[in-house]
Amino acid sequence: MTTTIQFKNIHKSYRVSGQDIPALSGIDLTINPGEIFGMIGHSGAGKSTLVRLINLLERPSGGELLIDGDDITRFDDDALRALRRRIGMIFQHFNLLSSKTVADNVAFPLRLAGKKSRAETDARVAELLARVGLSEHASKYPSQLSGGQKQRVGIARALATEPKILLCDEATSALDPQTTQSVLRLLAEINRELGLTIVLITHEMDVIRTICDRVAVLDGGKIVEHGPVADVFLHPKHITTKRFVQESEHVDENEQNDDFAHVPGRIVRLTFRGEATYEPVLGKVARDCGVDFSILAGRIDRIKDTPYGQLTLALTGGDIDAALARFESEGLTVEALRDA
């Protein structure tokens, strides 16, 4: 089954003391089956509302929201409940029932659906707990677990009814960096093995960079930029996106420009992607064109499974134009930051 989520001109506003406060305006977006789609934005950008529209925890004020081609805003109560069983959700603060054991928390959605026998439920719970690596904690209560373990219970619970879509609401924001990585690995593994579509919202670039295929950047209730993660983050166009990139790389553009002011030559930024990242392109081109270069700033990293490198160079001497043309023909992206 394919599960496409389509937002068509979605609007959402809240009525606060007689006034309509817009939270989302004119959202058009298609989320493809099986992908990990990230939405990034600062608090108040509307991302929390956006993700809650998908299972109608929030109702849109206008527009159409299609899942598998059906406009879910027209669903009656029964159809909506059936839909929600096909959509799992995990939360920033886990939202586990403190009065139930780990096993009972995971069994909870199955009992609500009421379709499985006791034995079937127990078997399914055991399977889910094994998947998230918590089999030995089945009879503990949530308060006895660490944050990362709680989120794993949340994930097991969300997967219980074999959903096609998993919504993640700031799922790693309450976790330390190491735990975040392990939870993200688990999500990526689930996406790969179960072919589940994952929609996640976050304010952390690293989360997007680690597991998302595509990303939408939200600001002021609008999508200001969206596309494949590498495209959006290696070549950010909107100011909000640029800020996210700079924040995550701990770079301040103004400071950097001051630093480079006394460096002679032309300053360019080269972006390598995929296998090109590990090719000896730079040395070869410099030699051939008689150009000298000094590396002013740089980063070699991965976006999901794609290695990339981004270097800021000052070029002096030789045939700089020819060198730049060569870089481009080698598949690198060249951006001029300052002419000589």
């Binding site: 299972n55 925890l57 909506l80 409940r81 059936a82 839909l83 929600r84 069983r85 959509i87 959700m89 939360f91 603060h93 939202n95 586990l96 029932l97 403190s98 009065s99 139930k100 909870f108 959605p109 009992r111 609500l112 659906a113 209560y141 949530p142 308060s143 009814t161 919504l167």
Partner: protein, 222 residues
């Protein structure tokens, strides 16, 4: 020895008074819990921004609860005499006291239940909704289990309130420890009776509180 220390204490009367207090407390607590719990749940659900938000229904329920809570129990006991007679066939004795006790304590308990339910993390309700639960399933599967410690604490406070209300039952010949203290201890100046009944009431309240606390701890998982 006891005869000289407590010359006025009639042990048979005292035993009867204990028995009356227990039966007033038992019956009225039972009915208060049975009526107050659904009322509290209804108050919670119809409240602002809740699952079944119904401002008019909530306003009405809330008003009735407030009115009943503001009537002093002594007055309620007298005002209710016709209604009590209608329900139990008598306005006298234990049977004459239980209905006013229930009417006096139910709104109190319902408010405490409402508060306990509000303490449940909204995220838990949201998560349960996201699983495709019906309102009924949310109430029985998530809200009540999560609020259980709070509801038990509310029941404890209510039980103790009922003990103190029941002391006024003498007005309609209800009997019980409080009545004994008023009639013999106070009106006949039998200080020894007063002391004994007060000690017994104190022990009862302590025992209720301890039992309640134990239950709350037993069901708390936070």
């Amino acid at each position: 020895m006891l005869e000289t220390l407590l010359p006025n204490v009639d042990w048979i009367d005292l035993w009867q008074a204990c028995h009356d207090t227990f039966s007033m407390l038992g019956w009225s607590l039972l009915f208060t819990l049975v009526l107050g719990l659904p009322l509290g749940v209804l108050l919670f659900l119809t409240g602002k921004r809740q699952l079944l938000s119904q401002p008019v229904v909530y306003g009405l329920l809330s008003f009735v609860v407030n009115v009943l809570r503001s009537v002093p129990f002594v007055i309620l006991l007298i005002v209710m005499i016709p209604l009590t007679t209608l329900i139990t066939g008598t306005s006298f004795g234990v049977a004459g006291v239980v209905p006013p006790l229930v009417v006096g304590a139910t709104p109190f308990f319902a408010r405490l239940v409402e508060t306990a339910l509000r303490e449940v993390d909204r995220g838990i309700i949201e998560a349960t909704q996201a699983m495709g639960a019906t309102t009924r399933q949310i109430v029985f599967g998530a809200l009540l289990p999560e609020a259980l410690p709070g509801i038990l604490a509310a029941a404890t406070v209510t039980a103790i309130t009922l003990v103190s209300y029941s002391a006024m039952s003498g007005l309609v010949g209800g009997g019980g420890l409080g009545d004994l203290a008023v009639r013999n201890g106070y009106q006949r100046f039998q200080t020894d009776v007063m002391v004994v009944t007060v000690i017994l009431l104190l022990v009862l309240v302590q025992a209720l509180q301890m039992a309640g606390d134990r239950l709350v701890t037993h069901f708390s998982r936070k």
